[in-house]
Structure formats: structure tokens, C-alpha cells
Symmetry: C2
Subunit: 660 residues, 2 copies
């Protein structure tokens, strides 16, 4: 086990919350909190008890040995030095690739191990154990899971990941407050601290912002320099350049993502999301096709048939769900949005306008909530392979809703007025509203929530203690963190976390600046500036205001990249339409050379959009070469041994037997 010993004290990474007791148990051995601490220590955790103002906390840290044991039990697959994913073994720890920060396990793997250990505590004795808590008696049955039992009795209020104070401070200094770094971020450290998915978000945001500088400069030039008679050429040129830029960005992001994945030892076969290993959360009722695989093994022809039916049934269900979503968006949401836009236009009085907007804003809050809930329900009947696929499916469905909500008003204005200056006004209004206001809300709401929670705890305490005039201070950090809000999505917690909102904001911004690029070129500068802010405020939010998020296993942008690409295609079409309107001022709808040219440009751009992905591969050559080298090494190394296992006495293979 050399090289496995870590000199540093392990940091506390998980907190367990139990209510503060009124009555202190005399017999310590049957006291709930005491038993919990004992059991945690027995498993191998380093345990610390903290008595807070409102609740009591048990902080857990796991030394490497404990984690290793849990990982071996979980049969976690980790990338080895030869690039192959193999099941973790404690003895062969040297064979596995280290994390960028030198540790053996990533945060996501550690969290998985913690959950496995915490929820793996069962009553191993021969009789039920009696636990006492605040005078209440609880019978811990044989083979029952302790935490689940206590959770159902409301004694364990929550199990949540804790911030690692040292690393958090370091990240605050090197990342959140490092404004002059502009788009540069310590991505590897973010990965170590928050896991792959969040690091990928920030890498994406950084690269997007860096790339935005170019069209931003171009857009500003277009805005402030008068091109005179060249104006008719300048806008189409800008449009073409911007589309090419976007196409290149989406392709080069794929390469960047592949390069990041090569740097981080993330298992290529994404394991099940650890968020769903926590029994406290609702689990989705998806049947993994294990029995199907068994059928396939037993009888190939029949198995193929069964598999085919399973596959097409799933596809049919997904198609039905998509149809329902699209249908309801078009038939329910579209009229609503159009009605609002129209009323807003027609109504003269400002007060009524204000009231209308208030009602509208109130309504869409509910609409999106209901939409999200409905989508999650629909997705439960789909047979998506893993949770990431399920959350992708959710993202597609919900994005349709937001797409309508955000753009239909703008389209309405564009169609109604057919006037660039009005359209520009609407765009500026929307951009400012969505960007600046949302940024503000996004950061202040969690902080207000946190403050309110603190106030409530203090208030309760004061009432209990009677009239104690001195101000109650929260001395323990773990209690403060417990009161902080978690990183959750606005559409519900089932499948997505706060990343949904952050990506949504980015995608809506991208759509806004791209789809109306010709109408308002300086929007790119707006977006670039906003994203520069966004990087630091999001960092601050994650490090300062929120609890440490539960890590997710996936290491790609997922559905969002497809949405970006869809927006690029949409923007080719809408910009062409805008240009056609621009040149066809009399509204005669005649195909003149100008319009014909626009149609040709559109087709060429669409061709480039779909051809470019062939030109630039999604994976850099060095990543490919690296992997090819690795697999060849692995196979050559144990080729003979493997062959003997396959052809030899191993009785697992019926095929061999049949041949003999």
C-alpha cells in the first residue's frame, strides 16, 4: 500500500444533520447520536460532532483506506495507466491514473463511496437494537439500514456534502476574485473540487466568452462606423461571418471537450449518476434491460427480436412524448404568448401595460413549473439508458417551452413592424432585462433565502430561550452551510441541478444574439461583457452562497450542444428572412436578384453547417493516438493470458463447448 498513504488530515466532506435534543439521554449507549457516531467510526470514517444553535451535526471524513475499500466493494471502474477502464482493487492502486491534484479518487467517486458507506450501515447483530432519541424509542431491526430508518423517523434530517474550507478559500482567491484573468480559469482545480460536469460548464462558458470577443469587435465596428452605400453588403457579410464563427465554435468545442476528457481520468462509460444512489431521493422507475441481455445470451434469434421490440417501443414512447410536448407548446403556449404580445401592443395606457406584464410574469412562472413537472412525468415512461440521457430528454422538452417564451414576442414585433429600429429597441430591452436582471436575481435570491433561514433559526431560538437580548451568532461553519440553499434547478429537482438554469441562460442569450444578428450587431458585445461577469458571479455563487453541489458523473455539455446547433440552423433561416425584409422595403415579396442571392447564401450556409463537422473531426488526433496506443498496449500485454482464459477450461462459454 505504498504511495497510498496521505500525510494530510482528510477533510470533512459530508454532514449529517440531526435535531437538537431537549432531553439528554442518561444511557449513552442507546442514544441515537452516539450510536450513529459509533457506527460511522466502525465503518472507518473520521467523525466530528458539532452542536449548533438549531441542530446537531455529525461531520464525516474518510481516509483513503476507507474510500478504497468502498470503491472495491462498489466495483467502481477507473481508468488505468494504460487507458483501459478496470474495476478498482485496493492492492493495485498504482495501476490507476491519478487525478490532476494527485489524489486517487475524484470528488464524484468519493461521493459515491461516502453514500455507499453511509447507507451501507445495517444491523448485523442477531437482535433488534433499541435506540432512544428525545424520549422516543426506535427499534432498529435486523438487516435494516440505519440511516434510512432514522430518516423515516425524521431523526436524520439530511445528509449533504460539505465545502472543504481550505480548497474553497484557495478557489475563491484563484478563481472567483481573479477578475483580471478574464476568461482564464483554473479548470483542473474546479474539476477536482466540483466534479466534471460543473468544470465542463465553466470551460464551455470560458471558451464561448473568449470566442465572443471576435464577433463583439465586429459588431461594434458595424455599429459605430458608417459604411454609406456599402451598407447593403456589410450586413450580409456580417451574417455570413457570424454563422461561420458559430459553426466553428460548436465544432471546436467538441474538440476541446475531448481534450479535457483525455486530461481527466473520467471513465468513458459514464456510470450511473451518484445522485440517484442516495435512497433519500426519489428513484426513477426505469427497468435496465438486464433480463433482455440474458435472453440474448440464451437464444440469439429470439433475443434479437425481443431487443428490437424493446428498442422500437422505447423510441415510439419518446416520439409520442415529443409529439405531446410540441403539440402542447404550439396549441397552448403559442396562442398565450401571441395574445400577450398583441395586447401589449394594442393597449395604450402604461398602467395597464404594467399590470399586464405583471400578470404575464406571474403566469409564466407557473407555466414553466407545470411544463417541467409534466416533462419529468413523461420521461419516466421512456427507456433512456442512463440518468444523463434522461436529463437530456428533459432539457430538450423544457427548452422548447423557454424558446417560445423568449423569442415569440421578438418575432411578433419583427413581423408586425418590419422595421429594424423597433426590432432593435425590443432586442436591447430584452437583452438588458434577461441578462442584467437575471444575473441579479440569480445571485440575490439564494442570498436572501439564506438570510431568511438564519433569521428564522435565531427567532425560534430566542423564543425558546425567552427574552435573551444578546445577538445569537452562528459559530459553526457546518450549520451555516446547512442553512445555505442547494444548487437546484428552477424546473424541479428530479433530473437536473442548477446547471440547467445556467446553461439555459447561456443558450437563450446565444439564440437572441444569433437569430437577430443582422438586426442588432452590437448584441455580441453585450453578451461578451455579460459572460465575463457571469463567469465570476457564477463562481462566487457556487463557492460562497450555495452548498457544495452533489457531483454529477457526466463530462459533456450534453443536450445543450445540440440546442446550440439547432439555434445556429434557426439563425441561418431567421437572418435570411431579416435580410429579405431589409431589402424588400416596399413589401412586394418579389424575388429580385437580392432575394435570390439571399436564398443561395442560405443554402450554402446550411451546407457548410452540415459539412463542417466532416471537415474538422470531433476528437483531436493526439487524443485518438493516445487511446489507440493504450488499447493496443493493454491487449498485447495480456493477449495470451486472455486467450487461454477464453479457450481454456473456463466453462462460462457455451459456444466453446458446442464447438468441441
Amino acid at each position: 500500500m505504498k504511495g497510498y498513504v496521505n500525510d494530510e488530515e482528510p477533510a470533512f466532506e459530508i454532514g449529517v444533520v440531526i435535531p437538537r435534543r431537549v432531553v439528554q439521554e442518561k444511557d449513552e449507549s442507546s442514544d441515537c447520536a452516539h450510536v450513529l457516531v459509533k457506527e460511522f467510526s466502525k465503518v472507518g470514517f473520521v467523525v466530528e460532532r458539532v452542536i449548533g444553535i438549531g441542530d446537531e451535526f455529525i461531520k464525516l471524513a474518510a481516509p483513503l483506506e476507507t474510500l478504497g475499500k468502498a470503491a472495491a466493494e462498489l466495483q467502481i471502474k477507473k481508468r488505468t495507466l494504460i487507458g483501459m477502464d478496470l474495476q478498482f482493487e485496493v492492492e493495485e492502486v498504482e495501476a490507476f491514473e491519478k487525478q490532476p491534484d494527485g489524489s486517487v479518487f475524484s470528488w464524484c467517486e468519493r461521493f459515491q463511496c461516502y453514500c455507499h458507506l453511509i447507507y451501507g450501515i445495517v444491523n448485523n447483530t442477531n437482535s433488534a437494537i433499541t435506540l432512544k432519541f428525545d424520549g422516543k424509542k426506535i427499534y432498529w431491526e435486523i438487516g435494516e439500514c440505519l440511516i434510512q430508518k432514522l430518516e423515516s423517523e425524521k431523526i436524520v434530517k439530511q445528509v449533504f456534502p460539505l465545502h472543504d474550507e481550505k480548497k474553497r478559500k484557495k478557489l475563491l482567491r484563484s478563481w472567483a476574485f481573479h477578475w483580471w484573468d478574464l476568461t482564464n480559469q483554473p479548470i483542473d482545480e474546479i474539476y477536482s473540487y466540483f466534479g466534471a460536469k460543473i468544470a465542463i460548464y465553466f470551460a464551455f462558458l470560458g471558451m464561448f466568452t473568449r470566442w465572443l470577443f471576435f464577433p463583439a469587435a465586429l459588431g461594434l465596428t458595424l455599429q459605430f462606423i458608417d459604411f454609406g452605400s456599402l451598407k447593403l453588403v456589410v450586413f450580409p457579410a456580417f451574417f455570413i461571418v457570424v454563422i461561420l464563427w458559430a459553426v466553428m465554435f460548436s465544432q471546436f468545442w467538441k474538440r476541446k471537450n475531448a481534450a479535457l476528457l483525455a486530461r481527466w481520468p473520467v471513465s468513458s462509460a459514464v456510470a450511473d449518476d451518484p445522485r440517484y444512489k442516495i435512497p433519500g431521493r426519489k428513484e426513477c422507475s426505469v427497468q435496465p434491460p438486464m433480463e433482455l441481455i440474458k435472453v440474448l445470451e440464451a437464444d440469439r434469434v429470439k433475443g434479437k427480436e425481443v431487443f428490437r421490440r424493446y428498442e422500437w417501443l422505447g423510441r415510439l414512447l419518446r416520439f409520442r412524448n415529443d409529439a405531446i410536448v410540441i403539440f402542447s407548446i404550439i396549441c397552448l403556449q403559442l396562442p398565450f404568448e401571441l395574445a400577450y404580445a398583441h395586447l401589449f401592443e394594442v393597449v395604450g395606457s402604461d398602467t395597464i401595460k404594467f399590470g399586464l406584464t405583471a400578470i404575464y410574469l406571474f403566469a409564466i412562472q407557473y407555466i414553466t413549473k407545470i411544463g417541467g413537472k409534466l416533462s419529468v412525468k413523461l420521461i419516466k415512461y421512456e427507456n433512456n439508458e442512463n440518468t444523463e440521457k434522461r436529463s437530456d430528454s428533459l432539457v430538450y422538452k423544457v427548452f422548447g417551452l423557454y424558446f417560445m417564451q423568449t423569442y415569440i414576442g421578438v418575432f411578433y414585433h419583427a413581423l408586425l413592424h418590419r422595421n429594424f429600429s423597433t426590432l432593435r429597441k425590443v432586442l436591447i430591452q430584452r437583452l438588458l432585462l434577461s441578462e442584467v436582471l437575471e444575473n441579479l436575481v440569480e445571485n440575490s435570491v439564494p442570498y436572501l433565502k439564506y438570510t431568511y433561514k438564519k433569521y428564522r433559526v435565531r427567532h425560534k431560538k430566542k423564543r425558546e430561550k425567552g427574552e435573551s437580548t444578546e445577538r445569537i451568532q452562528f459559530t459553526s461553519r457546518v450549520e451555516k452551510e446547512y442553512l445555505k440553499p442547494s444548487y437546484s434547478a428552477s424546473i424541479g429537482e428530479e433530473l437536473e441541478d442548477g446547471l440547467f438554469d445556467d446553461f439555459l441562460e447561456l443558450a437563450l442569450q446565444f439564440g437572441m444574439i444569433m437569430m437577430f444578428a443582422c438586426a442588432f450587431p452590437p448584441a455580441f458585445a453585450f453578451a461578451a461583457l455579460n459572460n465575463l461577469m457571469e463567469i465570476r458571479t457564477d463562481a462566487l455563487k457556487l463557492l460562497g452562497i450555495l452548498r457544495r453541489p452533489i457531483p454529477r458523473a457526466a463530462a459533456t455539455v450534453g443536450a445543450w450542444l445540440n440546442i446550440f446547433q439547432f439555434l445556429i440552423v434557426m439563425s441561418i433561416c431567421t437572418n435570411c428572412a431579416l435580410l429579405a425584409w431589409l431589402y424588400d422595403e416596399e413589401g412586394k415579396w418579389k424575388i429580385e436578384p437580392g432575394l435570390a442571392a439571399i436564398l443561395i447564401i442560405e443554402h450554402v450556409l446550411l451546407l457548410i453547417k452540415f459539412g463542417f463537422s466532416r471537415l474538422v473531426p470531433e476528437e483531436p488526433a493526439w487524443v485518438k493516438a493516445n487511446r489507440a496506443k493504450h488499447t493496443t498496449q493493454a491487449q498485447d500485454m495480456c493477449s495470451k493470458k486472455l486467450l487461454r482464459t477464453i479457450s481454456g477450461g473456463d466453462t462460462k462459454f457455451e459456444e466453446v463447448k458446442k464447438l468441441e
Copy 2:
């Protein structure tokens, strides 16, 4: 070695041709032919000498033991029963998956082994050996390759694969003459006999023809039933249906291909094409980036940089080549084709028209030849990964040429006359010409070549023997096969074989029927009928008229599928243009509701085209499940052993050392 013994006599599969000698050598031991036979027997071949009329032949057959030895020497990677590709070992033969016909090696692997063995015969003695042939003395130096030496001395005229008479007869019966099977073909047997690439061609042709029946029936209905006033709706509907059909076909073909690959134990990492292992052929001067991989191992950062430069240089070269090809097609070929189309239209006299066409046909023969040669030259400077990628690159480049050649005339007519009946006439003319005539030429030219060659040999013999009046009969089958033409492409032999012409015919036909679907719906019926013929005539050609082709390792359609998809996109655009013309009879170019509807249809169809590939995955679920199961098995089986090898005493991994 149980289960490894084959009761049947191995069939002769390779023929070596040496000229018939005038002088018979007295000392047999130094006679070239004798030495060859001796050396071949020493290697392990079963050898048979046949004295033909014009030449002498050595037929070679290899027992399994010989092939196994060669395969182990070549380190051929084969699919094992657990689905992993591993290097072949003679002792562990049971671990490898069997071919569909029960043999251990596929025809492609056998051919590789034959080549390795034949060209592996070197002078192992301590001194040069003197060989005599027809009075000439040849010194076989130490370590020199015998066959290459004799080839350079023109004593070995050719090494070529032989038909396996028994299997050939069986295939003729069950495949080529089995007309009433329509599109059903014994694909597994074709795979066993001809290799994966040709089997894939016939599977593709069969599936395409089967799918064609549907639009053919629809097209005929449209032709013969008068829809009256509904006509304006029927054509767009037909167009939409046909595009959807084509999109679905291309996606379902990918699934079919994946299913076929799961059935045949073809190594997923396509090995180098065996055709290029024959030193007799010109080898392409491509440097595999082996030294680059070494750099990457030594220094990651520098290696990445080097790799990036290598990748982008290659991409730049390919881009330059593509630009050259596109530029020359547009600037040189397009004016030529337009000039011909225009002249043909302008000229009144029929004789001049006939002469013009003759000159044109003569000219395009040369143009395509030159184009092919040029493309091959250009491709030599590209750093494509393997020969299949190189031949794909060639296919793209040359297809541009043929695309212009075939369709520009039709487009010219369509634009000039803007009249559906004229366009229909042109289409019928082209379809009949290209389909029927080409089929005739394709099959009769090789036969005529063969007959002429036979005649020449006979003639020569007669002249030598003086006035022998009796008719000379070719008694030996091997000599007849030697005289048969090989399966080669019309654009040159460097990178493609006869499959190029067959796929080209199919692609041009597909483009013709799809791009003008609205103008001439019954074209689909033409195509279906023609393809039914094509299946059997191609089978007959391969089995009866030509030599057995050299097998190719690749097992996909390659570039052609992309070309099919490109043609689908093109046909969306052209059909929309055709419909616009159809409804805009006065040529006013006004956007009326009809035209707007067409534009919308176009955009929706393009969206479906590019969205459909997301809806239907390219790989059936059972293939995926099967593979996943296999790899998990493999990894679990030797996980511990592997880990020990990686982390243990193995000094190959500098990374481990650094960490310790």
C-alpha cells in the same frame, strides 16, 4: 489442436504464372520452376504444377496449419468469442470466433497469409543460389525475396487468386441463376467467398432494390392515374414521401450494416488492405505517424503540439486538394459540358449531332481517366489513416467529376426549356442510355477481352507450332482464369477495384431518380427493374467472367453512403426548384402562397433530413448490448491479472516509476 483439422482437401486459391520454357533444363535442381515448387512445399503449401498452352502455372493451396502459422507471424488480430480483437495464436484457436461457414480464417485473412508466405520466401543459405531459366542464369542473393527477384526478371509473370471451383459452382446455382429470389441473396456465402466489401455491396444493392419497390409502385400510380385537379397537391406529396423514404433508407442501411458486421467476425479496426501487402503493386508513400506516437510518449506537451501540427497540416493538404478538384471541375469541366449541351441544342442536322456526341463520348473517356490519375496523385500527399480512407478520398474527388458529367446536361435542359415534358424525354433517354447500355457494356467488354486474349494465345501457339490445323483447346481451368480480365476500376487500379464502377452506377442512378423525382415519377420503377437485373448480372460477372477479385478488408459502404446523403440534400433543393417552376408557369418569379409553401416544405424536409439521424440510431440496440456484454466479460475476466501487470514489476511504464 483439436477442432483445427479439416477433413476436406484444401482448395487451390493462388496461382503463380511462369512463361512456358523453350529449353528444358537438364539439371532439375537449379531449374527455376522446380526451385519454386520446392520452396513452396517447404513453406507448407500443397503445390500442383499445370502446363498450359501459353504458360506454366503453379497452383497453391494452404492447409490450416500453414495458414495458422502465417497468421501468428503476421500478428493478425481476430475477433474472439468474447468479442475482443486479439492477436492470433495457433494453440488457442478455439478462442476465436468462427466464420459463418465454419472455417477459422476469412478469405481476406487467408489471402493475407498467402501473400505473407509467398513473398516471405528468402534465401536462407549462406551463399547465393544460381537458378536457371530458359538458358538464362539468375543469382538468388542471400536474404533476397525469391518471388520479387523472379518478378523483376519477368520469370514470375503474375500471382493471382484462383476461383474455388466447388464453391463457385454452388454460388452460381444458389445466387447468380436464382432469379426468382428477386432481392434475396446468400450474403453469408458471398462474404465467405469474396470477402466483406463485395458482400456489403450486394447487401446494399439488395436492400436498395427491395426498398425501391415502394416508390416504384407510387410513381407508377402517379403516372397512370389521372388526379385531375388534385395534380397540384399530388406532386409535392410524392416529393415529400420520396425524400422521407430516402432519408429512412440511408439510416436503416447503417443499422443493417452494423447488424452484418456483428454477424461476421470482421475486426473492427480495419487492418491494412491486403492488396497493398503485395510488393508487386505500387505502394503509396504514406508515413504512418509512428515516430509521432513515440514523441507523444516521451513528452506529452510537446507531443500534443507536434500532433496538432501534423493533424492540421494534413487537413490543410486535403482542403487544398479538394479546392483544386472543385475549382478545376467548375472552371474546366462545367464550361465543356455546357458547351456540349448548348451545341447539341443549337445544331439542327442529325449527322452533326451524332458526330458531336461521338466526339463528346470520346473526350469524356479521357477526362475521367485524367481526373482519376490526378486525384490519385493528389491523394498521395494527404495523410489519410489507412487505404480505405484514401480510397474514400478518391471516391469523393472523382464523383464530383461524374456528377457534373451526368447531371449538368439535364439541368441545362430543365433550365432552358422549363417544360416538364421535354425534361421527361431527356430523363427517359438518359435513364435508358445509362442503365441499359452500361449494363450491356459492363458485361460484354470483359467477355470480349477474354475471348480476344484466348484468341491471341491460340494464334501465337499456332504460329509457333507451324500449320497445325486442329483447334487448340484450353484444357486447364487455371489458364482460362489467367486469361480472364481482373475486377478493376475504370479510373485506374491504384486505390479502387471494380466496386467503384458498380457503386458509381448505383449512385448516379439514385441521383437521377431522386433529383428529378417530381418531373418523372415512374423513373423509380425503371430503377427497380434495372437493379433487379443488376444483382444477377453483377453476380454472373464476378463468378463467370472475371478473375476472383483480391479481397478488401473494409466492411462498410464507405464514401458512397455520404454521397447518397449528399444526393438526398441536393434532391430536396432541386425538387423544390422544379415545383416552383411547375407552379410559376408565367415565369414571373413572384412569391405567391404556393412558392412560400414550397420554401417552407424545403426547410422542414432539410430539418427532418438532419434530425432523423438522431431519431434512429445507427446501431441496433441488440448489437450494442452484445458488444457491451462482451467487453465487460473480457475486462472482468482478467481485471486482476491486468492490474498486476500494469502496476507490478513491468518496467515499460515510466509513469509508474515517476510516481513511486
